[in-house]
């Protein structure tokens, strides 16, 4: 080897350079892959920013007009928003740091090279912070712009705020990576699950106690508005806890917008000092634990293995009984379904159940919607008005369908591509790809309908709607569920990606984006048509016209057929000449 003197590039710089090059090529590949896809992404980004900015502007103006309390309410909303976003950022950083440090091939590859664990951690910390925080920046940018506009702030507000936010995101990133490191060192999967569920239950209980419903009588609303509002605002005081980083950020932003630069500067310095202190700890100390934590994750048995009850349970499981299992027994009862299709159904159900991310995300999305619908009973005052009942019922239909569209795009769309990877078994089996596609569609519909029909029934029940209207929504949501699943399955076959194992990457291609966009447009159009074609009047005394009703329903049915049945039909035709 030559002995020429050269200055070696720092490994961190090399890693940043290589990964930046990779990221840039990914962006270029999207543009090259399809102009339509890049245009769609661009359209949605601009559309989101414009719409969010407009909504935030109007929302802030509306709240600010509240007599006597307007500015206070706006301020409190900002504190609350940043407090919740801080918690979300913490979770996001924890999950992404853990995955990025301990379930990542690059980290393992780098550990076998002469790169110190500290350097690997530094790179992964930077990467995780970016991955976990970009959505936060995207979300709040229109809000802060709207806030600036409605409060007529000075020009330097728009320069100072990004700097404050840049300092702020360091803190949840440091905390998230530190917690991820310690979870990896000390907790195995089962212990972590038990701890996470216990903490979630504790947090729910605390939230339940703190936000329990306040009884407010009509008389109090009429005569003691200030006292009532004060009681409500007390519930939001936690967001102004002085040691919360979100409090420093909110205070800094609010003070700056009011021109109180000294006070704003104080909060900026508080943020800066904490970001520097904890940032330097992360950069110089936390990485020292990385190798030990990585090795612990790779070497782990169960945390319970030393306990006799666990060993007895494990031994019982080791004594294999060759039984069919619960899922197979239940599906086996469907005698009308051919045995090979039943086998496929059993496989899909087992894969779904054993993939925590699939049912975890489903549970979170629909659980939140369910919790919101259950709480509709507290809006008894407004729900005496037919207009509000009507509006809320259609909004619930829209929210339910939007949740479903997210899940069908995320989980149903990549199914065929993933099956293509396993073509040696499923594709070569004598059941034919058309039956595989059909069975996936039917299974996805059946599973989705269990949730969407349940939620719409709950919504109608909470809104005290008569049976006839419940049936109306049941029919509508059934048709929408079928369409969304047909669209996801159909486009999944028409735009397959057999190179990827990761469903997330399959979805991020052209077909997945197209599926999400079409699903959202379909939902907006359908809910609008159904609302206008509703046989029940929006206000007392108004009458719905029959031609309008029929026209709207015909358009809804046609749209459903076009976006649900057609892609499915085309996909079934496509699989006949399928060549992976």
């Amino acid at each position: 080897m030559s002995s020429a003197v050269h200055r070696p590039t720092s490994p961190l710089e090399l890693l940043v350079r290589v990964n930046a090059l990779q990221a840039w090529r990914r962006v270029k590949a999207v543009r090259k892959q399809s102009r339509l896809l890049s245009s769609l992404i661009g359209f949605f980004v601009i559309g989101y920013v414009t719409l969010a900015f407009w909504l935030f502007c109007n929302g802030l103006r509306f709240v600010a007009k509240f007599p006597g309390f307007g500015p206070l309410l706006v301020d409190r909303l900002m504190f609350l928003l940043f407090a919740f976003l801080f918690v979300l950022l913490l979770f996001s950083n924890l999950v992404i740091s853990y995955t990025n440090l301990f379930r990542n091939q690059e980290a393992a590859f780098l550990l076998s090279l002469p790169v110190s664990p500290q350097t690997i951690f530094r790179w992964k910390f930077l990467e995780s912070t970016l991955l976990a925080s970009w959505a936060f920046l995207f979300l709040i940018a229109p809000l802060l712009a709207a806030y600036g506009l409605t409060h007529h702030v000075a020009w330097h507000f728009y320069l100072a705020t990004p700097a404050l936010i840049a300092l702020f995101i360091v803190l949840p990133a440091v905390a998230g990576s530190w917690v991820a490191m310690n979870v990896a060192r000390y907790l195995d999967r089962r212990a972590f699950q038990i701890m996470a569920v216990s903490l979630a239950l504790l947090a729910l209980a605390c939230a339940g106690v703190w936000w329990r419903t306040e009884t407010v009588t009509d008389e109090m609303l009429e005569t003691r508005v200030l006292a009532v509002l004060d009681r409500l605002l007390m519930k939001t005081r936690f967001a102004q806890f002085a040691l919360l980083p979100s409090y420093w950020l909110s205070s800094g932003v609010l003070q700056w917008s009011e021109g109180a630069l000294a006070a704003a500067g104080f909060f900026a310095l508080v943020l800066l000092s904490y970001a520097l202190f904890f940032g330097s700890l992360a950069f110089t100390r936390t990485g020292g634990l990385f190798y030990e934590a990585f090795s612990a994750v790779q070497s782990r048995g169960s945390a319970f293995w030393q306990w006799t009850w666990f060993q007895a349970w494990r031994n019982r499981r080791r004594n294999f009984t060759f039984s069919r299992g619960a899922v197979e027994t239940v599906i086996g009862c469907l005698r009308c379904v051919p045995a090979d299709t039943r086998a496929l159904l059993v496989k899909d159900i087992r894969v779904f159940w054993r993939d925590t991310t699939q049912w975890g995300q489903t549970l979170v999305l629909f659980g939140l919607l369910g919790a919101y619908i259950l709480n509709l009973r507290h809006f008894s005052q407004q729900l005496n008005n037919p207009f509000w009942v009507h509006l809320v019922s259609f909004l619930n239909l829209g929210a339910c369908s939007l949740n479903l569209a997210t899940l069908t795009t995320r989980f149903v769309y990549p199914q065929f591509s993933l099956e293509g990877k396993r073509l040696w078994i499923v594709g070569m089996a004598p059941l034919g790809m058309a039956r595989v596609v059909r069975s996936k569609f039917l299974l996805a519909c059946a599973a989705s309908l269990l949730v969407t029909l349940g939620l719409m029934w709950l919504s109608c029940h909470m809104l005290r709607m008569p049976f006839s209207r419940t049936i109306y929504f049941a029919v509508a949501v059934t048709l929408m569920t079928t369409t969304l699943n047909g669209l996801a399955v159909g486009l999944g076959v028409l735009y397959p990606n057999f190179k990827e194992d990761n469903p997330g990457k399959i979805v991020s291609g052209f077909g997945g984006t197209f599926c999400l966009v079409l699903s959202f447009l379909y939902i907006v159009a359908s809910v609008t048509l159904l609302a206008f074609g509703s046989p029940w009047p929006w206000a007392r005394g108004s009458v719905s016209s029959l031609p309008l009703m029929l026209g709207c329903w015909a358009a809804f049915a046609l749209l459903s057929a076009l976006l649900g049945w057609l892609p499915l039909k085309l996909s079934l035709r496509r699989v006949l000449s399928f060549e992976p």
Partner: protein, 251 residues
């Protein structure tokens, strides 16, 4: 050059590596054989510094992989069974990246890479993104990047998988040449022909234990079975399995 001293690795209640002691001198080609889940990959991962041993130590070129990890890794190259490559980089960019991580000068990267690229016929792929390369070509890229800094110790896990006969031959020739020049090679493989043809010594691991170490002839004598290495391997591992079954029965 490679020293494993009373190496033990536990995954909870599972004993994956059971008190392995082994010394492989400089320039030796050592092949390790064993059935599935015998503990070969775990041993390699400890050697590469990816996981900590429960007890015992592993040394590469005189450096303990736990206490002097960077010194050990500077002298080591490791090619896993499914190597990680940056998909959006080209092979040439990837070689430059790994060379720079090993602090090689520009001239060294150029000269070392050119020779290996020619021998592994990678010229047509140098400017193409790695994501578009076939499994075998990716394997060649990984091997070239491992050999680039002329490591003193090369650890390979199933290196022949995906390689066509021509490039398998090229790899075998390069490994033979380099071990002749002092590079220690530690290969884990299921292809007994590779061990038979290439290895100076062979180790057989079964259920975490190093059952036997020796030259082809020494192992044959120990097993008491004539014929191909396959017969020796099966005899030794069956003997161990019967012994383990007897122990369980006695308990």
């Amino acid at each position: 050059m490679i020293e494993l001293v009373h190496l033990v690795k536990r995954y909870g209640d599972l004993l994956a590596v059971n008190d392995i002691t082994l010394t492989i001198p400089r320039g030796e080609f050592f092949a390790v054989l064993g059935p599935n889940a015998a503990g070969k990959t775990t041993t390699i991962r400890i050697l590469a510094g990816l996981i900590k041993p429960t007890s015992g130590s592993a040394r590469v070129a005189g450096f303990d992989v736990q206490t002097s990890p960077l010194e050990a890794r500077r002298r080591l190259a490791y090619v896993p069974d499914f190597p990680f490559l940056y998909d959006k980089l080209t092979p040439w960019e990837f070689f430059r990246f790994t060379g720079q991580l090993f602090r090689m000068s520009e001239a060294d990267i150029q000269s070392s890479a050119r020779e290996l690229i020619a021998r592994f016929s990678l010229e047509p792929f140098l400017g193409k993104p790695i994501e578009g390369l076939s499994h075998g070509t990716r394997q060649r890229v990984a091997i070239v990047s491992a050999l680039l800094h002329a490591p003193e110790v090369l650890v390979l896990d199933e290196p022949m998988v995906g390689l066509d006969p021509h490039h398998s031959r090229v790899l075998k020739d390069i490994l033979k040449e380099r071990s002749g020049r002092g590079m220690t090679v530690f290969v884990s493989t299921h292809q007994l022909s590779v061990a038979e043809e290439m290895a100076d010594r062979i180790g057989i691991i079964h259920q975490g234990r190093l059952l036997a170490v020796g030259t082809r002839e020494e192992l044959r004598r120990r097993s008491g079975v004539e014929g191909a290495l396959e017969n020796t391997f099966l005899a030794l591992t069956e003997e161990e399995a019967n012994f383990a079954a007897e122990k369980i029965g006695a308990k």
